[in-house]
Symmetry: C2
Subunit: 198 residues, 2 copies
């Protein structure tokens, strides 16, 4: 699930909440899964992975990650990302473009403090995306941190990312591919909307 | 569903088929939905959208699209893409990197000829991603093509894309985020495998 905290009342945010509720009502599994795609000019690679969107704070969309992994490095070198929901229960796609940045440290601290110790032990113990000999070693590192005790202090290499979309497309699938597509683009503080061909 | 035609028997292809079957058995909706992410150096935009993967022919992964839309333009200017499955029924993610190119014209012709006339009418009538006044106009254009008759001849602005991955990561979610990650990378014709930290 995604938490909505004082969410924006602008039109695309109203539509988003409607579509989100429709997906939840249709029994959508892992409705919070969102694909974040990035481009790293150094490696010249496009990359894409699903993360769990945790909350929307007004117009800031927030998820958490390791700060040393490949995606954090890509965000640093190229701030423009795409973010993509696909809810198969309703055949609905939401495509966004945004600039991404780190969450303020205090907000990451507060979030970390409130999490399960088990999840924090993983955040502390994992050097995300680094090679490791075996899965057993992952489990061993994790249990060592968990047994050592305090997992409430956020390590500096873990925290949130936030993005505020300036482009939001609502795509709704149709049996004959007559898909409905409505696009919102933010310019000088206000949203313009148009329809696209399927 | 995805069709497997004489699919490669290399290790990551065997794992892929196992994971695919597990997702189907778990009742995965729209198991063929795959997020294709691209980068366009002209617009400097990363973009991402779900398409339907239609078949794997040995080691060529194939889907179909309009050739004039934004994604075709991005593929032309930057051939390296990422391709991403997420099956929420099994909490499994498959992340790939590949170079993309157009399918040979004869293969696109044959595929088009065999499709439903309704789907072809849409492929013919839609200038994908161009602005349109209303959804009603989309339906009107589509019905005009359908009524005109022959929908078996592929227009030159529609056809297949194929990609052959050189990087395949199998990611399997765990309740405590102790996710399992195994990566295959193809170098000089053979696959090397390693494990990554969660």
């Amino acid at each position: 699930m995604i938490k909505f905290n004082n969410i924006s009342s602008e039109e695309p945010y109203l539509i988003f909440q409607d579509w989100y509720q429709a997906a939840v009502n249709a029994g959508q599994l892992r409705v919070q899964a969102i694909a974040i795609s990035s481009y790293n000019p150094k490696t010249e690679l496009v990359d894409s992975r699903f993360v769990n969107l945790k909350y929307i704070e007004h117009d800031r969309w927030v998820f958490f990650s390791n700060y040393n992994g490949p995606k954090a490095k890509a965000f640093e070198t190229n701030k423009t990302i795409s973010a993509l929901f696909y809810w198969n229960a309703t055949d609905a796609q939401i495509r966004m473009r945004a600039h991404i940045e780190k969450l303020p440290a205090q907000e990451s601290d507060a979030y970390f403090k409130a999490r399960d110790p088990e999840k924090n032990a993983l955040a502390i113990s994992s050097a995300q995306s680094q090679e490791i000999k075996s899965y057993e070693e992952v489990v061993k590192n994790y249990q060592a941190v968990l047994e050592k005790g305090d997992t409430s202090v956020r390590p500096e290499y873990w925290g949130g990312f936030q993005f505020t979309p300036y482009y939001i497309e609502f795509w709704s699938g149709d049996r004959n591919r007559l898909n409905k597509r409505q696009v919102f683009t933010k310019k000088q503080g206000s949203w313009k909307s148009k329809f696209l061909q399927p």
